[in-house]
């Protein structure tokens, strides 16, 4: 195995921050929901940002969910830069490939 010092530490930090941060946001949203009972809803991007800063419980939970969904994406982006920093171009391109596949999933919009 090659030296993985830089990559391992950066990746580990992203995973830790993303999973704990998003869970805390969801917990905050739940606690807010006990204070201000809210109706189930699903907000679009603009409304989500607007309502988040007004501490709408559902918007806070949804922001936590979004952060959690993006955590693995950040993890792949950090891996790309770490591998490039280690001049390991083969794995840099493999990571770019993984990122492109994950982002391509946003193109699929088939209804049930």
């Amino acid at each position: 195995m090659k030296d993985q010092g830089l990559a391992t530490h950066a990746i580990s930090q992203v995973l830790k921050f993303g999973s704990y941060g998003s869970t805390l946001l969801m917990l905050a949203g739940l606690l807010l929901a006990f204070v201000w009972p809210a109706q189930p809803a699903h907000y679009g991007m603009n409304e989500l940002v607007h309502r988040f800063f007004r501490l709408d419980p559902v918007a806070v939970m949804q922001a936590g969910i979004a952060l959690l969904l993006l955590t693995p994406v950040f993890r792949v982006i950090v891996a790309i830069f770490s591998f490039a920093g280690e001049r390991d171009y083969r794995y840099t391109w493999i990571s770019v490939g993984v990122l492109l596949i994950v982002l391509s999933s946003i193109l699929f919009r088939l209804a049930h």
């Binding site: 580990s12 995973l15 869970t23 917990l27 993984v98």
Partner: protein
């Protein structure tokens, strides 16, 4: 959605999280059937919820494995090329299947995972393996089976550990500890690839996702701290019995559903 409902959902998540941490499995296998059977949540929403919970637990555990250098990041990245592609395919296929079909497939996967856990309980793990020295074998076969594992993850909202760990351990020559840590490392990206598809369909909702994820997260923290003090074999038998019970219940439900 009442306060009681929120607490019940969080409690369900906590139970799945504790058991998952004690047995080294994601809670995904239990979350979907329990949400569907106990709370009457449509199966596609239950699958989407489970996917998000799976991302949470696997990211938290993987951060520890990566720091300890137990996850083989390079091998993980290579296999992720296949698992993410499979995950997107699985999520797209899930959108084309009826609820009845999804319920049947989930029931079959539960039975498979239960059987493979029983087999693992029967054999002794090789503790003498050196997690530093190994050569990766059969990469093309590994990629193909990883695609299938990703597909099942995207289709049923599970992490796919019961497929990836034996694949890496038995076929690719990876030591069991490294295989487990690397499988865990791959689960987050794999689940995220399919979660984006479910998110756009509107199946990832603040309720039930937030209470379940918070519950699972808290449960797996508790589970990983008590795991040395609890007899795992006893829990394994309990867990496997619950899995088979849920598999049968879901099969019965699917039969009664009629074509929908």
């Amino acid at each position: 959605m009442t306060a009681f409902h929120l607490l019940a959902l969080a409690g369900l998540g906590a139970g799945a999280g504790i058991i998952g941490a004690l047995l080294g499995l994601g809670g995904g296998l239990l979350i979907t059937p329990l949400l569907n059977l106990l709370f009457g949540i449509p199966i596609e929403v239950a699958i989407a919820t489970s996917l998000v919970a799976v991302i949470g637990t696997s990211s938290a555990t993987a951060s520890v494995y990566v720091e300890q250098k137990l996850s083989d990041i390079r091998l993980g990245m290579v296999l992720e090329l296949a698992t993410t592609m499979g995950a997107v395919s699985g999520a797209v296929v899930a959108g084309l299947l009826s609820r009845r079909m999804l319920t049947i497939l989930f029931s079959l996967f539960l039975a498979y995972a239960g059987t493979s856990m029983l087999r693992r309980a029967g054999s002794r793990e090789l503790a003498s393996e050196d997690p530093e020295e190994y050569r990766v074998k059969r990469v093309p076969l590994g990629l193909f089976l990883s695609y299938l594992a990703g597909g099942i993850s995207g289709l049923l909202g599970v992490g796919g550990g019961p497929i990836k760990v034996p694949l890496m351990y038995l076929l690719m020559g990876i030591p069991l500890k490294v295989a487990t840590a690397t499988s865990n490392f791959m689960i987050g990206v794999t689940a995220a690839a399919s979660a984006f598809v479910y998110y756009q369909r509107g199946h990832i909702l603040a309720y039930p996702t937030a209470p379940v994820v918070v519950g699972v997260f808290a449960g797996s923290l508790v589970g990983s701290h008590v795991s040395r003090r609890v007899p795992t074999r006893w829990i394994l038998w309990l867990f496997v019995s619950v899995m088979f019970y849920l598999a049968v219940t879901m099969a019965v439900k699917a039969i009664r559903m009629g074509t929908s």
